[in-house]
Symmetry: C3
Subunit: 380 residues, 3 copies
């Protein structure tokens, strides 16, 4: 059972913010690539986008283009979007006649055919046809030319991939997650909306901004009206997974303050709590409420550029019930997100100055201290 304590417990007076180089230097960026991005399991979305065999979507991360697909066996595969013939993108976009009405960014297909010369792969990425001209070519065998793929792990419906040579087991890397959120049954939740934001900031500012509510009274009048920003309680305060919860003032974190949907599951006391967790390395930030989950995928693009993809999940039964008002939850966070991204942008602009020097964290930023300590240890 998780033990929660006030967020200022664990605060280390005098621990300073990270030096400038961690936000701007190419050398640090290269080390992050080696020690973090190519070592940790990275979240690339939620299974609710691809419920059926042949459902797929495209995902860009670490300068790579991936196809995330549900195979005929019902497994999730992550294929590199590269034809084995001449290297062309096999899917440059989802063809109109393959798009699923529920979500224009999800496709459905029985196979992947490269548009260049029609080399064709099954949903597992095996080459099943290379046109008649390759038949009889001495030494050429279809089975020698499957698409590349990455190992996949699914946790509570969230899909993770790993770019490392010898990936650590998911359960070892993210011990704090295991069993921690079973109650919410996020694996069966269904996606309502996805918004992609492009931010001129370092990825760590997005994590750090998420890990404190010290800025809530001045910057988030709406959010701040639903919580007592000094009342957060944390349970995971060291390691790659950090976070805790607020008691919600009112029903839920929505613009109206009312529930936007039926509960995700039978939640007891947790119905009126707003849980927040960051998953280091995975780029996953979780906002778990009684009636919905809003998660961010934080995709580092360059030292000063980050893509954030935010997605809203609800109880799949909510769609057919009266009172389902998901836009109430979407609007709440879209407003809050835009306020946050602005803060991360002006943090990035300031840190580039020759005048920047590491400053004192406040007691309300103890999770940022934990994040920095863990980050520096991993970067070694």
């Amino acid at each position: 059972m998780a033990t929660f304590k006030p967020s200022h417990e664990g605060y280390v007076p005098g621990q300073l913010t990270l030096p400038q180089k961690y936000y701007v230097s190419e050398e640090i960026w290269n080390r992050e690539n080696e020690k973090i991005f190519n070592k940790y399991w990275i979240c690339v979305g939620h299974v609710s986008r691809i419920p059926g065999a042949g459902d797929y979507y495209l995902f860009d991360v670490l300068d790579e283009k991936l196809i995330i697909v549900r195979t005929k066996k019902g497994e999730v595969k992550a294929l590199f979007n590269v034809c084995r013939h001449r290297g062309t993108l096999v899917c440059d976009s989802i063809p109109e006649d393959q798009q699923k009405p529920v979500d224009e960014e999800t496709g459905h297909t029985n196979s992947f055919q490269c548009p260049y010369h029609a080399w064709t792969y099954d949903l597992e990425g095996n080459l099943i046809s290379a046109t008649k001209f390759m038949k009889g070519v001495p030494g050429f065998k279809l089975q020698d030319h499957p698409m590349g793929s990455l190992p996949v792990h699914v946790w509570q419906g969230f899909i993770f991939v790993n770019f490392g040579k010898n990936p650590e087991p998911f359960e070892k890397q993210y011990k704090g997650l295991i069993g921690r959120f079973d109650k919410w049954q996020m694996g069966r939740a269904r996606s309502f909306k996805r918004i992609t934001y492009s931010i001129e900031t370092n990825w760590k500012y997005v994590f750090q901004n998420f890990n404190e509510c010290y800025h809530c009274p001045t910057q988030h009048p709406l959010l701040n009206s639903r919580i007592d920003y000094t009342g957060s309680l944390n349970d995971l305060t060291e390691g790659p997974v950090l976070g805790g919860y607020f008691d919600i003032l009112g029903d839920s974190m929505t613009t109206s303050g009312k529930f936007s949907a039926i509960p995700l599951a039978d939640l007891g006391d947790d119905l009126n709590r707003a849980y927040y967790y960051t998953v280091f390395g995975a780029g996953l930030l979780l906002n778990i409420h009684g009636d919905y989950v809003m998660f961010h995928l934080v995709v580092p693009v360059a030292p000063g550029k980050t893509i954030v993809i935010s997605e809203w999940l609800f109880n799949p039964e909510a769609w057919s019930l009266p009172g389902f008002n998901p836009e109430d939850a979407v609007e709440f966070w879209d407003i809050t997100n835009l306020q946050d991204w602005h803060l991360t942008r002006i943090a990035q602009q300031g840190v580039r100055s020759r005048d920047y020097k590491p400053g004192w964290y406040s007691p309300r930023e103890s999770l940022l201290e934990s994040f920095d300590r863990f980050y520096l240890e991993e970067l070694k």
Copy 2:
């Protein structure tokens, strides 16, 4: 006399596509600059743009800005667009009152005057006036300050320049061209249209794409309706000039399938053939038909960026004859070009992946194998 053979003859089973670095690395790009771009004669257009003395146009290549001009002696000169006074562009654009009605991108002038301080050069690039203030300056002589120029060679109306220190003779570098196309009398053909395309791809993908019709059935429904894509016959299959021809189904390679103009010359059997040739180093891709020539100038800008300028030439007598329908030819290739540029873009996107590895060419891509072999040899 040329000997033609089916395009799969000469195919080497197991020769693989080029490794990734040849499409993305700055180091390779620098070697290409030294070993290819600054060694080979480069095509910069066709004489039909500058029929009369004083006609000129501007051309950008290898980060240089050139003025291509017809002198009073009737010769073609390629001048560097750099004033000998303070280095300013002598022509930053073609002044409105110098533009020729036939083609707004061609100018006409008796001399080039730098806009900064009115230093003035004749059509040969000799400094003929430096304003009154330079008169009497000890040691200053007009004849010491001509504009820089490049050696020029004109072949069948196509203008080539050479950036090398000791250029090889044109005839030695492009032996395969000499005498090969005299019959079409391209030197007297007249330009109807020019289109400039900007493509996020490596220049070699444009060459490779041009050298095979393996992708025609899936990608070029219009083009494919005018040829049997398996029926190509090649004669130049090794060295810097590669290509052959298709028999055309119907009259010509036009949207309607009919001739767009009278023949370029007396062509006999070649009236209904579509010849295609690539000229390595020159950036010249030729599509020669009975009733018109469409050529591409392939201008490398960066490892991942290429400019292609496509131009359509017709028999100069066609303009005054009934049935002249040049847009029928322009549209046919503009449609086809856009399909091709898309393929070269997604090839470039795919090759950047860590998952890319060289793949097997098919028997229909033997000219690409030849191109790669020649390219690698030249790059040494």
Copy 3:
């Protein structure tokens, strides 16, 4: 008393323009940063923007963001726009309710509050509040965390800052300025208009273009109608400050040719003269006329990119008098500026060519020779 001589006196026949690298190379740019930009006093504007205590504006220079503010003591401060807490920009823009009606780019405030966590600084940059959570944190003292600042020198109303470690005294660096322009009382002049131009050129081309009128007859028909371009007389012809004057044909340098305002002061013979001076290192170009001053701030951004901010100052009493027609002066220079920036752009485009080589200055460009000599000496 200044001694003036014709502008061709001091001309050195055969001194050549600068080699290419000085306009394009990153290495030279880095040396300029060390030897010039971070050594010389840089002009960042004129005091007329911030007449009262608490008035402030934002200024970007050398990749730094500054706040220029008038303190309660009436002094001008230049603060780095970086919060001491987590490095965020304290002012990312001037809030609407702080904008002064006279000029939307000037703000007014009693203190600077960081938008992130409300840490608050007084007009001197002292931290005066860090929210309740920092109270009682062991070792944390407000006085240890002031905003960073730069030394400021005000000369004739122009505000200069210095990024160097041990700045030379202003009077020593710009000896030629001291006492030279007291008569015009520029320190009490008032700003009417400010225009920002972005130019793809090297900063030195802006200086060099300003220092000669050899290009006036061909490029500036309007300007040239107000002066005899061969009649310039220079007094400061060596060192960091260079320039002289023209006699004006007509009243003033305005589109109409008439005075746009009452004189700046009691000027005697200087009422009808157009003085022009460049201040090396400061990025300051001065055009001083009887009825107004137009100055440029030349802000180097990259070897091939420069920002120029032009501003027009008038006698503060002119506003309330009949016949005040400041747009007549603004239009005159805006027309002229755009012509000049175009010339500096095509100079930059030409100098990048492999064909560029240093050329001969004319006798009318003696100040450019002086500029180059001084520049090369400083760069050593």
